[in-house]
Symmetry: C2
Subunit: 345 residues, 2 copies
């Protein structure tokens, strides 16, 4: 009817109540423990297992994501996944999330709906209910804060602190890919800045880009543990790079760790991209971040059971605390001390 | 030793891990249900009652608070209290919070510590443990997002939706004071902007300023209900003004409400300040916000028990839905329809 029907709708066109109604109208609670969701002062969750697990993470525009290359739908998806990863790292099953959003007022209602589309997709895939939240305007940048809740039986809880000497050290999936993906995005961004007519060159980078833009949490590994009756002695999710997570786990467990450079799982795209960019792929795994894989320790008697399991790779073993935290270099057998460089946003 | 010892410490001087360690080093878990706090992937909470209650709220600089007149310690305190208020509104006892902070990089470590001092004070007073969080830098404004958890027995849960015809409508405390306090702060801010030599004039305004800057949640009322064996039929916390909360409660319960203008509890400072500013104090109660009092309904048989209880005031009764949501005007007895104006930040 009007020429403007495809124009973005300013956020101010709906009020706070209108916005909440629009975003939550299609929400159906699917988890049996979700007794009351959005629409009251608080959500109600039935305690079915002995323990509730809770974790929170905040993503800030310009620090954790760049809207120039992060599609809004992926942003919503990733914000959920990084929180669920923390719940899985306790060997718990995530059940609910709450979402708080401070939205740049440059954003439209349609942009907000894109974020929620990603949030809802992640909720569906991981079997989690969105039960509460707060949406507000920001005078500047977009901030998204998610809290995830899960439940677990008391004897299934896995902390960082239970690793014992001789335990096997394992990781799920492969490492360094999200970091390699970020380098490609940053490279294409600077090319684009210099010449906006250039089309970004992402050929052969699909896997590492997806690892950066749309990571997954390791639901499958937690399900594998449950099915096999395995309870790791310690576990942590790899958000800041393998090196700093190994040090966290070792410190909390009062042990040392020894891992082998040639055992660290790397995808071919990660290796190729790092070579192309003159980076060491092992350093990407050790000091890159955002892999959202799980690092865990298992008693050595599980060796036969797990040695051919494609979900995981054995990368080393637990030592006494006095031996420190080391990597055995490929070829030379030299011990390299691991440093907690973490990941600088 | 150096001339600079009293200079603020830039946030960048500590890393993320250093910051977390400094802020959480003194935290002691006091609540019996808190089994594991900050320092692992997620916090662990023992489920002692049948239900977990969860609520989240985000405060954004320039939208919800102005650092020109909001002391940082009060900001931390208030951010906790507004969340606990939602937990009490379900008739639950709050037990844990998580805190996510995106900090303007103009802020110093000392400023951050001031915010945490307020957070810790609120935790202590309300018997709640800080069990998790995320601290990150923001390229622009400060954002604080808190999630509160509480527990409650299934038969003690109070939603918005249980009000029945003939029920008494009650509120705790008094209303409109936080709004009156905000008007005074805004007035003194513009005076100060015009002439920075002027000292703000806050004499005789202590109560309304405290209501705005350092509100409290109604722990005492929930304890009174437990002691007296009272379970309200419906309850909601008053964050957006009495009028819109009455409408929320009526809509959720599929009833109408009738309240009496002359019963709405107002403090003398609220009345005096509104008169001074040419505002109607009843409108401040109806459409102002941030009172964090509780609005609830009780079966009429409780009348004798509660009629002299200083914690609450009976302001009206529940009617059938067809009668709508009305206020009986003082003097004229005219019915004024309540509108959900809410509170514009």
């Amino acid at each position: 009817m009007s020429e403007n029907t495809n124009e973005p709708t300013p956020l101010t066109d709906l009020g706070e109540f209108g916005l909440i109604e629009r975003l939550t109208k299609d929400i159906e609670l699917k988890n049996a423990t979700s007794k009351l969701g959005v629409g009251d002062d608080a959500a109600l969750i039935k305690n079915e297992k002995a323990m509730t697990v809770v974790s929170t993470d905040m993503l800030v525009e310009g620090v954790h994501f760049d809207l120039l290359y992060m599609p809004l739908k992926h942003l919503g998806y990733k914000a959920v996944v990084v929180n669920l990863s923390d719940i899985y790292a306790m060997n718990a099953v995530p059940t609910q999330i709450t979402v708080s959003l401070a939205l740049s007022n440059r954003m439209s209602v349609e942009a907000l709906e894109d974020i929620y589309e990603g949030i809802n997709l992640a909720c569906e895939l991981y079997g989690v209910d969105l039960v509460g939240g707060d949406t507000t305007s920001s005078l500047s940048r977009t901030v998204i804060s998610i809290t995830a809740l899960g439940q677990v039986e008391q004897d299934k809880v896995v902390k960082r602190s239970g690793a014992k000497e001789t335990d096997l050290i394992c990781v799920s999936g492969d490492l360094g890919a999200a970091f390699a993906g970020l380098q490609i995005l940053e490279r294409e961004k600077s090319v684009f800045k210099d010449n906006s007519a250039m089309q970004p060159d992402f050929s052969g980078k699909d896997y590492i880009l997806e690892r950066q833009l749309k990571p997954e949490a390791r639901k499958d590994l937690i399900e594998y543990f449950a099915k096999e009756g395995i309870v790791p002695t310690a576990m942590i999710d790899i958000s800041d790079g393998l090196s700093s997570e190994l040090i966290h786990l070792a410190k909390a467990s009062k042990v040392g760790v020894q891992v082998y450079e040639d055992k660290i799982p790397l995808d071919a795209q990660t290796i190729n991209t790092c070579e192309e960019l003159n980076l060491n792929p092992v350093m990407a795994a050790l000091n890159g971040g955002e892999d959202y894989e799980l690092l865990f320790t298992l008693p050595i008697q599980h060796f036969e059971k797990i040695k051919r399991e494609p979900l995981l790779t054995i990368i080393g073993h637990v030592t006494d605390q006095g031996s420190g935290n080391n990597m055995v270099a490929t070829g030379t057998e030299a011990l390299i001390e691991l440093k907690a460089q973490g990941w600088q946003h």
